[in-house]
Assembly symmetry: C2
Homo-oligomer: 230 residues x 2
Amino acid sequence: MALIHHYPFCPHSRFIRIILGEMGMEPQFVEERPWERRMEFLAINPAGTTPVLIEDGGFVVSGAGVIAEYLDETRGLGMGDRRLLPESPAERAEIRRLMDWFLNKFHEEVSSYLVHEKIYKRFIPMSMGGGAPDMAMIRAARANIRYHLQYIGYLTSKRNWLAGDKLSYADMAAAAHLSTADYLGDVPWDEQPTAKEWYARIKSRRAFRSILNDRIPGMAPVSHYTNLDF
Amino acid sequence: MALIHHYPFCPHSRFIRIILGEMGMEPQFVEERPWERRMEFLAINPAGTTPVLIEDGGFVVSGAGVIAEYLDETRGLGMGDRRLLPESPAERAEIRRLMDWFLNKFHEEVSSYLVHEKIYKRFIPMSMGGGAPDMAMIRAARANIRYHLQYIGYLTSKRNWLAGDKLSYADMAAAAHLSTADYLGDVPWDEQPTAKEWYARIKSRRAFRSILNDRIPGMAPVSHYTNLDF
């Protein structure tokens, strides 16, 4: 059985958890707190980031985008028409462009700020940079997310799913990152009705269920978080 | 004939130029100054980043990692044994891990600071944030690069090329990003002899030649920049 090192509120980890759910895989999950920079974990992934997939035989695959490609290459063909990274180079390029957008650009401009300031810093000792969130960072993330949501609104007004007719890795990357911001109440859904309708569809999938069950001790999610028809 | 929107000192653009050179492709190159955020360019790539590949028929592929995957899928098979992203999922995972390391982590911690502060800000109007480099950013980049160079030294002491026995996208991503720092004299090569020997090998390749010919007006490269046996 494969094993996943992840952190429940790490948006990159959530991306892989949703993919695994869609693929019907049930690996073993091990919680890793990436900010602790454990030596044993750094020996597995020198970048120190979650998620990391470890195959039965011990083969290690590190990083959300890399794991997604690896899962497609080793399990994707078996999914037939439900494959999340379809065969044509043109479709793949569009899906990867959007994966890159959410895994890197959105993360850098929105989700890394929100998750680090509001969640990780609750657990990081004061002496290591933990403590109260830096409100300037949170304001920046809240300003930036509006433009990303507008882009999702634009895409979903023209397409059934983000990258085209079919559900793909692009939707999962976007939804995984948005889900962390949504827990914190930082997604202005009402500004973009088609984006909201798209998120309600992806959130209703069985593969999303475990994401909606995650809780931060002492910090409840926004009231609509688990509401599938919000 | 394909067309590439690039900026000569954008490390991501250099990565794609080296790949194109290795593949023997000679597309048309159009210089784009990404900081100008031209509306026509944003219409092609909403992320506003270089490089962008436009195929003969008008199909657009945006982003260094996405273009690299697309080139492998559309041209890689024809390279046979010289393919830069070989067939086995395990080799591909290791190459992609290192691509991600240099295209994202190294960029975020080193090359984006150096290129933005020392090069781009020479051309950005003062009113738009241009002007003298922020020395705190440059000091951070110079501190960070030592740890990345150490990692390259570690890998090249155990392997022929970064990801294994054969030259791959991993070497090109690393060399492209390092080459911008090297122009500026910010790579402490003498600290890592095996990394230096690896870079001399990749720098000697024909595909690297155009990179070594780039010049910033009024800012000469460090003396060893074009020396193939430095």
